[in-house]
Amino acid sequence: MDPDDLATINTALDADVDRREKIKDQVNELDKTTRSMVGVLNKIHSTPENEMVSVIRSVRPLLESCSIALEAIANLVPQHQFWRWRDMWCHSLRTAVFSAALLEFLEKGKLISVAHTSEILGIKPEWNERLYLQVEDYLHGLISVVNELSRLAVNSVTMGDFDQPIRISMFVKDLFAGFSMLNLKNNDLRRRFDSLKYDIKKIEEVVYDISLRRLAPLPPSASEEMETSPERRKN
């Protein structure tokens, strides 16, 4: 091997190793934050609806603090090399997306957008090509939300909240309809999408149990129909 080449390759490899370690340190920081978020979010399964606000409030600062580690990572990634290093942090980033999307649902009952998620996590548009929220990671985060919501549907019934499962059911069905529009390849996302149907089944069973026993008010669309139906009018 050419001695010059040997030296160049050695230097380049050392630089890569160095960079990798620095990124890893920051990913560990991000991981700490996302893990504590998941820890706090676990409380939603035992928090009555009227106290949910305080859980949400305690997760917010953690969610916003993700930006510190993310900014450090963005500064370590060379221009155009997002894809070269993304495997290192995508797991943590997906957990962060999961937390942001779950909060949005609990607060507003809505699906969070990619742009809004990026904003909350402090991912700046000018980092483009070094670090950004990629659709695949966002979708992974959403699937985790569905996994979590199927548990919440069960647990909210235990706590006597019969509205939540209905809201969850509608939200998850919308999401599933969205996912069904994608042409997924045989990859992780596809496998996780395939598992969604079990979550949906579980949620449907809860909704069925509630409806059968008339424990919850009818969903708005159904009650509208009832109100406008001829029989109702006669009464």
Partner: protein, 266 residues
Amino acid sequence: MANTNRDAVLKVFDGFRVELDEYNDRRERLIKVSRDITNASKKVIFLLHRLATAKIESGGTDFKSIAKQGRDKLIEIQALFASIRGELDGERFWSFQRAVSPGLQEYIEALSFVHYLESGRLVTFREVQASLTDESGIVYFPLPLDDYLLGVSDLTGELMRYAIVAISHRGGRNKAKEVCDFVRNCKADFERFTPFVKFLSKKQAVTSQSLEKIEAAAYTIAIRRSEYGASAEALEDLVSGYESSSGMERQGRGRGDVEGDDDMFP
């Protein structure tokens, strides 16, 4: 209310579908090109083996003309790399690097074989990169270090085949020794990179096997030569004498002449 939510979700996912489809389609296209590159590179390697074997058998020593023919073929492959430069600009390069890396490694293997026949040296990182750069000096395919190391690692397997063919021919003993030393050096040089490059340790294992095969062949030749106790030159003459007579014998057999058998043991 429910319907407007659903419509909003569907609209957003419609955008995702377009984005994911675009990504997947591009990836498919690049995998196809990568396969074409692999195929073309394998053909170059086979061509080099064929030409080199013919050259060795005819007793020739000039391998530069063979390398030239290989190099001409490589131009077609370089054009394939140039054809995908638009698909790999900016951040896309690292996004699809894994899709094109098999083809790239095979190309590096072919190029390094050409380079070895030409100069007896290992092609350098800079030389490989230069082969993927246009006339105005713009790199149209940035060469990842990993692919370079994995590509040149494959060269040792080709050189093993080359050495084994050479060793049974006149002048081939020296050639085999040259190759053996070269492969040994490659193995030593690459060793220090194995902790940094995924899959390199596997390639190193293959290189070790190739090296052992060359060494075993060299050993056999050395032992036989010592038994005969003659000069290398005399041994060459003896072997070629046998080769030509058995060649005649084979021809005789082809005509159905079985009596020719006796000629083998004069």
